[in-house]
């Protein structure tokens, strides 16, 4: 038990370190890059007095270290600054968007795993068969796809040509009650499918190779020698071990998934953080961009930590490592 506690504590410490790193990088970028938002506010046309007053208001006349301390303090209180474009706190702007991004990324991850595991198993159990070749080619192409391209084509064919699904937004106005949930689900399908298509390849390829390795191990040979049906050897014995590296992959791909979500939301006008980033880019709303990065980084770090803790539960060896 203490082992589990220690493992969890260590993992929590790493998560905090990562968040601190993300926040510090952001602070340094904001202060060192030419487009410094606060300096941009202080336009050169002002009188020196007005400029100084403004700098003081933003705390920019203080030493860098003091600014850094204040910045951390503000972040700890969930204060991400004020949106340039909307004059409301950045946290308000982002928090109303976060649920949509979480819904999109989480559902696409679920669908990817749900489709990826059977595909990987089928490919691994008949290596060099038709399906195996197909998944290998498909995996390489899938990993090379540009997310917006996929989104645009799904939108064009399934949405605009066949009128099967809505082409943008996350729900239709004026729909309430149980119908609303169905409507949200319909709006979710295309963005979710786009994200699944670009992720699926790496999951299938990873699972395929680890499963082939696992099937060659002694315990699988023994299980077969005992006369256990092949299907049981694969699903009950080999897959359990082969799934562990796949769990790691979830953690590794999270950052990439979030990037994909930003682009997907832009294509489908999905009201998540990604679409917010796109709008903030067009309005040069730096506080929102900064807040979006910090929030997404924290989300990824938390999700990553949960993945690792799950891994620790699944594989006792990890806890001692």
């Amino acid at each position: 038990m203490t082992q589990v506690v220690r493992f969890t504590a260590r993992r929590l410490g790493r998560a905090l370190l990562t968040v601190w790193f993300a926040v510090t990088v952001t602070f340094l970028l904001l202060r060192l890059l030419p487009g410094d938002p606060a300096l941009a506010v202080a336009s050169p046309n002002m009188t020196p007095e007005a400029r100084l007053e403004l700098l003081r208001q933003y705390g920019l006349d203080e030493p860098l270290l003091v600014q850094y301390g204040k910045y951390l303090w503000q972040l700890l209180h969930g204060n991400l600054g004020i949106s340039f474009a909307r004059q409301v706190p950045v946290s308000d702007v982002l928090m109303e968007r976060l649920p949509w991004t979480l819904l999109l990324t989480f559902s696409s991850l679920l669908v990817t795993v749900a489709v990826g595991i059977p595909l990987g198993v089928l490919a691994a159990t008949r290596p060099r068969g038709f399906l195996d070749r197909f998944t290998q080619v498909g995996g390489v192409i899938g990993q090379s796809l540009f997310v917006p391209s996929v989104g645009i084509f799904l939108l064009f064919f399934l949405g605009l040509k066949l009128h099967l699904l809505p082409i943008g937004g996350s729900y239709s106005p004026g729909v309430y009650g149980p119908a609303w949930y169905l409507d949200v689900l319909k709006h979710l399908i295309l963005p979710c499918l786009s994200l699944m298509l670009v992720q699926l390849g790496s999951y299938v390829l990873t699972l395929r190779s680890t499963l082939i390795d696992a099937l060659g191990e002694d315990y699988c040979v023994l299980a077969r020698a005992k006369g256990m049906p092949n299907r049981k050897v694969v699903w009950k014995h080999a897959l359990r071990n082969a799934l562990l590296p796949t769990t790691t992959l979830v953690g590794l791909q999270l950052g990439y998934l979030v990037g994909g979500a930003v682009l997907t939301e832009t294509v489908f006008a999905y009201p998540g953080i990604g679409r917010g980033i796109y709008e903030a880019v067009t309005q040069l709303d730096f506080p929102v961009l900064q807040g979006a990065f910090v929030l997404l980084a924290v989300t990824v770090v938390i999700a990553n930590m949960l993945t690792d803790l799950t891994y620790g539960v699944l594989d006792p060896r990890v806890r001692t490592a």
């Binding site: 917006p148 391209s149 605009l160 990037g259 930003v262």
Partner: protein, 293 residues
């Protein structure tokens, strides 16, 4: 088959190097060779863009025309020829990919090799790489590109600066296993300087991993650059594949004219898939066990 050919060579020539064996195996891989062909073709198109198509500028009166003999890839919402846009876009996309991956490789390899060679540095390197890799890179790139203002230089620097940790991760793990080998101890015993050992003994040992990294980093850089351009953070003064998609999305042309988005997407896919296949074929060719098959 290769074994016999290699055997004959070693008898007649006695100079069969690992590189030549790899190349011989690579040449027999049709997918790898086709990919090299596609990549070379794209580079030639990029280099000779002015000879192939006039720079897509100004406004034509033939707006949103479907692909035809006059306009192979059709025209966009302002009547510009999409074939010309894709050809000129190849130029910027490949330049950004080449420059940013060169920079990322340079930083990544130096950090990885120094980390592997000097154990004191390595714990820091390992931690920093882990930290960098666990952050969502695209939102970070967006923030920096927006702050610095979109331009070619910004794009190259931003992509390079956030791509080197991946290079370091791959090269470092290889370098760490090489550093422990006896010949490295022997090199140290000869009294050579650290720089000499790293340059003459460590770098050649990790060179194959670097080759693969170059290809993969460059292909990822194409996607990152396109992603930034798609969000409006590309270089607004020159054409890139991402910008064609961005304009199609902005103007709403993508909803009616499939050709505005299909062709730049295909170009990008061709580039990235062929780069990936080359790295796979190279890895197979380098691996003697895979060659036996």
């Amino acid at each position: 088959m290769t074994a016999t050919v290699a055997g004959l060579d070693s008898v007649t020539n006695d100079q069969v190097t690992a590189a030549r064996a790899t190349w011989a195996a690579f040449r027999r891989n049709p997918l790898g060779m086709i990919s090299v062909g596609i990549l070379v073709l794209l580079v030639i198109v990029a280099a000779c863009a002015p000879l192939i198509a006039a720079y897509p500028t100004g406004y034509g009166d033939q707006v949103l025309q479907a692909p035809s003999g006059a306009h192979w890839f059709g025209t966009d919402n302002l009547g510009r020829d999409i074939f010309a846009e894709v050809v000129w876009g190849a130029r910027l996309s490949i330049v950004i990919a080449a420059l940013s991956s060169a920079l990322a490789i340079a930083i990544g390899v130096v950090v990885a090799v120094l980390g592997a060679y000097f154990p004191k540095v390595d714990s820091i390197v390992g931690t920093v790489v882990d930290l960098c890799l666990s952050l969502p890179v695209l939102p970070l790139m967006i923030l920096v590109a927006a702050l610095a203002g979109p331009s070619l230089v910004t794009l190259v620097l931003v992509i390079a600066f956030f791509s080197w940790p991946e290079v370091t991760r791959v090269v470092r793990s290889q370098a760490l296993s090489v550093v422990r080998l006896p010949y490295m101890d022997a090199a140290r015993l000869t009294g050579g300087s650290s720089i000499w050992i790293i340059r003459k003994h460590l770098l050649p040992a990790v060179a194959p991993v670097i080759v693969v990294s170059v290809v993969l980093t460059a292909s990822r850089a194409v996607l990152s650059a396109a992603g930034l351009a798609f969000l409006g953070l590309g270089d607004p003064t020159s054409w890139s594949w991402g910008r064609i998609l961005y304009e199609a999305q902005q103007s709403g042309a993508m909803q009616s004219a499939w050709w505005t988005t299909l062709f730049p997407s295909l170009a990008m896919l061709a580039l990235v898939v062929s780069a990936t296949l080359i790295s796979i074929a190279y890895n197979d060719a380098r691996n003697p066990r895979a060659r036996e098959d």
